[in-house]
């Protein structure tokens, strides 16, 4: 198979890897690069568990061919904390009980981050819209919305 050399930035680190064109971004991230915070749920863009941020916008990494991220900037859940210090969104999710089984959490937090980066003061309606591509089967969403509101206040301090 013809491997292609791609260069991209993942969580502020430069990567140069050879990939087969069939490889999905999520598999590159999880299997090759060993960052397993990004989850695979439905595999067809319905659940958002595989959400990563690509050039400032969220995408479902299970529907992106790795070969197409050449030259792009990717952020996964591992890129949020600074050493031992959690990102305000991670902190507020823990504090508000917005994490239950945890499977949707990385995707939820990345969608929340992309939202707050564009709109630092979202209304609860805007938060719900921003998270409409992420499913959670545990929390009933109320705590997640609350956590995003809390983090937005924290980030605006």
């Amino acid at each position: 198979m013809n491997k292609k050399l791609i260069k991209f930035t993942l969580n502020d680190k430069e990567y140069k890897v050879e990939v087969e064109p069939q490889v999905l971004l999520v598999d590159l991230i999880r299997e090759e690069l060993g960052l397993t915070g990004t989850k695979v749920g439905c595999g067809e863009g319905e659940c958002g568990a595989c959400t990563v941020i690509m050039d400032g916008k969220t995408v479902n990494s299970c529907m992106v061919l790795a070969v197409t991220v050449d030259g792009k900037k990717i952020t996964t859940i591992e890129g949020l904390a600074k050493g031992e210090e959690l990102h305000p969104l991670q902190k507020s999710f823990v504090e508000e009980g917005a994490v239950q089984c945890g499977f949707c959490t990385p995707g939820m937090i990345l969608s929340s981050k992309a939202l707050l980066d564009e709109n630092p003061n979202p209304t609860p309606e805007e938060i719900k819209k921003g998270l409409s591509g992420n499913l959670c089967r545990c929390t009933g969403y109320a705590k997640i919305v609350k956590a995003v509101e809390k983090a937005s206040k924290e980030l605006n301090k």
Binding site: M1, N2, K4, P21, Q22, L24, G43, E44, G45, E46, G48, T51, M54, K57, T58, V59, N60, M63, V64, L65, V67, T68, S111, A114, K129, G130, S132, G133, N134
Partner: protein, 290 residues
């Protein structure tokens, strides 16, 4: 998945690649094709990635229309000041596609090329009388968008051809348009039925009108008979109600996994009614309905 991967860097290179290639699929946002390949619904020998062809990107305005690159994502369309000003109904439709993640990467050209009868941007584009520019190595032509759909998942594009531009008619003073969708829930729902309406009024008279539907036939459709009847009528509630009934009688939807024919028929009437009402309201506001 097992395919050869091509990623041409310019229009010239793209047309050359296509000229020599058979059994290929395009890759734009990939939200449809990648899933279909994973599920082995399609197994193309070749994938032609369009994302490095800059000529296929961007949104610009010209006299009476917008030029929209087929690689414009739904998010770009939804957020574009030009689209909001001159083709608000398209922004309205793009905003209702899939989820933020899908809109961020899925493209309007992909929405057309997939030829899903349920595509949300297509009825909006149809009522804006969109022309599609199609190119192949030694040929360039323009077709009305309505004329490129053959059936579910099929267009009349032949091998070697690619959509290179959309020309979308701008909404002017005295004109208004609206997109209305019925899905199973607010987000991430493929349309059970969708509808777009555009009209031009002069005082109280409907001078011109276009109505398009998705998910009621093998391809997106225009309701030419109802449009003809509406022309010259008064822009008022009773007329809209009659048109809604006519629309319901005119379409022949089917039962499928997402809904039933009966539900679609009934809903069609209320979508046309709502669409006409909102379009009229917007025609009476400022240009562009911002």
């Amino acid at each position: 998945m097992n395919f050869e991967y091509y990623n041409p860097k310019s229009m010239e290179e793209l047309l050359n690649v296509l000229d020599n290639l058979r059994n290929y699929y395009f890759l734009a946002g990939g939200t449809d094709i990648v899933v279909k390949m994973k599920d082995k619904i399609v197994s193309p020998q070749n994938i032609v990635d369009l994302n490095d062809v800059q000529e296929l990107k961007g949104i610009s305005s010209e006299e009476d229309h917008l030029n929209i690159g087929p690689l414009a994502t739904h998010t770009e369309i939804e957020e574009s000041d030009l689209v909001k000003k001159y083709a608000y109904v398209l922004a309205e439709a793009a905003a209702q596609v899939g989820s933020p993640q899908i809109r961020n990467i899925g493209t309007v050209g992909g929405n057309i090329g997939n030829a899903s009868p349920a595509a949300d941007t297509v009825p909006a584009l149809l009522v804006l009388d969109t022309t599609v520019q199609i190119e192949s190595k030694n040929h360039k032509e323009e077709k009305n968008l309505l004329d490129i759909f053959k059936g579910p998942g099929k267009t009349f594009l032949t091998e070697g051809q690619v959509i290179t531009k959309l020309k979308v008619r701008s909404i002017k003073e005295g004109e208004g348009a609206a997109f209305v969708k019925m899905g199973k829930r607010k987000a991430l729902a493929i349309s059970v039925i969708n509808c777009a309406v555009w009209l031009r009024v002069d005082k109280d008279e409907i001078v011109e009108v276009r109505i398009a539907f998705g998910s009621v036939a093998p391809t997106p459709i225009r309701l030419l008979e109802v449009e003809k009847w509406l022309k010259g009528q008064k822009a008022e509630d009773d007329v809209f109600k009659q048109a809604a009934q006519m629309a319901q009688d005119a379409i022949k939807p089917i039962d499928d996994i997402r809904s039933t024919a009966e539900y679609r028929s009934t809903t069609a009437a209320s979508l046309v009614y709502q669409g006409l009402k909102t379009a009229l309201q917007r025609a009476r506001e400022e240009v562009g309905n911002e």
